[in-house]
Symmetry: C2
Subunit: 365 residues, 2 copies
């Protein structure tokens, strides 16, 4: 079974950096091998650099970004706790679902899909929530929610932030923004295949861990005994060795390029795409001023699709003719928007130029 | 940072098959790419062959074997349900912990570490349990528990079996044994790096799924919508693409060799190791007749360790001098046994001969 090489311009996975692919084939060693533990420590140091944090408990969970979301709730939410969730897309909705499964009392603060949350509304939603949770980069809409301004009014609440599509692509400042728990995914702006969830926890959140989380697999106290440098290195579960090699290499590429340089590269690609789509007469979906450079949602021009092709057929034609993947819409905006990712190694001006060219060729008018 | 190539004769991970390593570097594609979905379907077909089942819901979870354990409980256990767990090692203990986190009433049926469970005792432990759970191959002791005889007396109970260290290495017969939920790990007898948990669910268990499992990430009803051939292919979480490539390739090696041939290879290696260790004057820990060929526990001969070296130093010397990893004991048998794995690509007579030679050289007397 063979695969064409794709340019992955959907909502993720993105194309891995070549150095990452090379790293995945390194010989597998044991999860307690001294050589592996040293590599794990270095990986976690690189994660601290990328998260902009000194949090000792910073590592990658053995699951995708959604496992990270679940870990962020099950470790700090007790039954009956009030959890304020900002909802302006599919991943805010998912947070509500996950929090309810922890038997939290969920207070929703909504904004229409395509528009950012109002931080003041989020802070005013409840006088004393246990947790305030927002998605930084809403992958379903391409909207950036403001996170930095939430810390000042959060009171005793723990601040949980979904950085799946933001980490490495736009500024994320865990310590400066006083974020308590944050998770990401490897397959977005870090340029690594999917499978791990970079994670960081403040000392304040560690003190608030529930006694026995309902998830054994995502029990951060137990995981900390293995992942922490200088800790007991107690076996919890077998670390996904090859994926840790991949993450280590991807973070190496990012640190070598420089975090700010990576943000600038993503910004330049996003700006070129946004301008180019508007020049083609297309309408961007996310509100101006809160558009993500790494994930762009654009309204599908129904009247300009080629004869006999619906939007899914157009995406399929891009895949079959050019080997280019872009994404469709989720939930209420399915069939209404396309989602175009420029993340990690995919965030190259060359890819933007190519996509604009083929879209211009495909659309009528 | 460089790694020596290791011969992984610990309790896992084992050495991956070369074909697996090659597969991991295939270009990443999207999780909804038609090419990937076809490969996913073929992977699940191969899993059905290896599990000896026709269960439609057969796939690999996006986590390690411990995630599989958790998924097996959270999807079928309601608060207050009686769960009978056979406990004769660390992984039976873990099952109790996981079941309690589902708020089950756990009924333990114990056997000493190193001895098998009594199936009659397991069946007689409670008149009407919701779930009966046993570990097939106890990785902490090298004991095989009898599973095939449990189906006849299980009544309405669902039978959950941990096959992390058995699948591919010794006979596992999901349909013939009437097992309802079973999980494994990629890094043992399947010869694939750690990171995924092969999983299979009977139709009877699907009907007993709880309404909303406490875990979103491991919610099998939602996952089924994505992994099932001919299903909605609804996005749940981003599949770990490269690891699925690896599993697909590993299962290909296994199916090409033949499942029975793989069992025979593991049996031959295990027999040679058991005989060789006894010929060296060492005492096997697991009870005769229930010894796993793929995972052997042997009592550490404290009086024959080289001067000034404890058992950990001996293992470290094997690693540093020969690049051979073997495992120490867990929990109550820490410091008392070594655990020697012969799993997947590691299960070769050559590796057995080498280990026996270096052990014989190292030990006094």
């Amino acid at each position: 079974m063979s695969h064409a090489e794709r340019i992955l311009m959907g909502p993720g996975p993105s194309n891995p950096y070549p150095e990452v692919t090379e790293a995945m084939v390194r010989p597998v060693v044991g999860h307690l091998d001294p050589g592996f533990l040293a590599l794990l420590d270095e990986t976690n140091d690189r994660l601290r650099t990328v998260w902009r944090t000194d949090n000792p408990l910073t590592f990658a969970l053995s699951g995708t970004g959604s496992a990270g979301m679940e870990a962020a709730f099950v470790n700090v939410v007790n039954p009956g706790d009030v959890v304020v969730v900002g909802v302006n897309g599919a991943f805010g909705e998912r947070m509500c679902d996950v929090a309810r499964r922890c038997r939290a009392e969920v207070v929703r603060v909504e904004a229409p899909w395509g528009q950012p949350l109002d931080p003041e509304q989020v802070l005013a939603a409840h006088p004393n929530p246990a947790v305030i949770a927002v998605v930084h980069a809403e992958t379903s809409t391409g909207v950036r929610n403001d996170v930095g301004c939430l810390s000042h009014g959060k009171g005793d609440a723990l601040l949980v932030v979904d950085c799946v599509t933001s980490l490495g692509g736009i500024p994320v400042e865990i310590d400066a923004w006083d974020v308590d728990l944050a998770y990401s995914g490897t397959q977005k702006c870090l340029g690594v295949p999917p499978g791990l969830s970079p994670f960081t926890v403040s000392a304040r959140a560690v003190e608030r861990f529930v006694e026995r989380p309902q998830s054994w697999y995502l029990d951060l106290s137990m995981i900390a005994d293995y992942v922490s440098a200088g800790g007991a290195r107690a076996y919890h579960h077998t670390a996904p060795i090859s994926m840790v090699y991949a993450l280590h290499a991807g973070l190496g590429v990012l640190v070598d390029e420089g975090l700010e340089a990576s943000w600038e590269r993503h910004a330049a690609c996003g700006a070129m795409l946004h301008d180019g789509l508007e020049a083609l007469g297309l309408e961007l979906f996310a509100e101006a001023g809160h558009r993500l450079p790494e994930l762009t949602s654009v309204r599908i021009p129904a009247d300009r699709l080629p004869d006999g092709m619906d939007e899914a057929a157009c995406r399929r034609a891009l895949l079959d003719r050019y080997g280019i993947e872009i994404g469709g819409g989720l939930g209420p905006v399915a069939g209404q928007v396309w989602r175009i990712g420029l993340m990690g190694h995919t965030a190259r001006l060359r890819n933007v130029a190519l996509l604009l060219a083929v879209l211009g060729e495909m659309l009528d008018g």
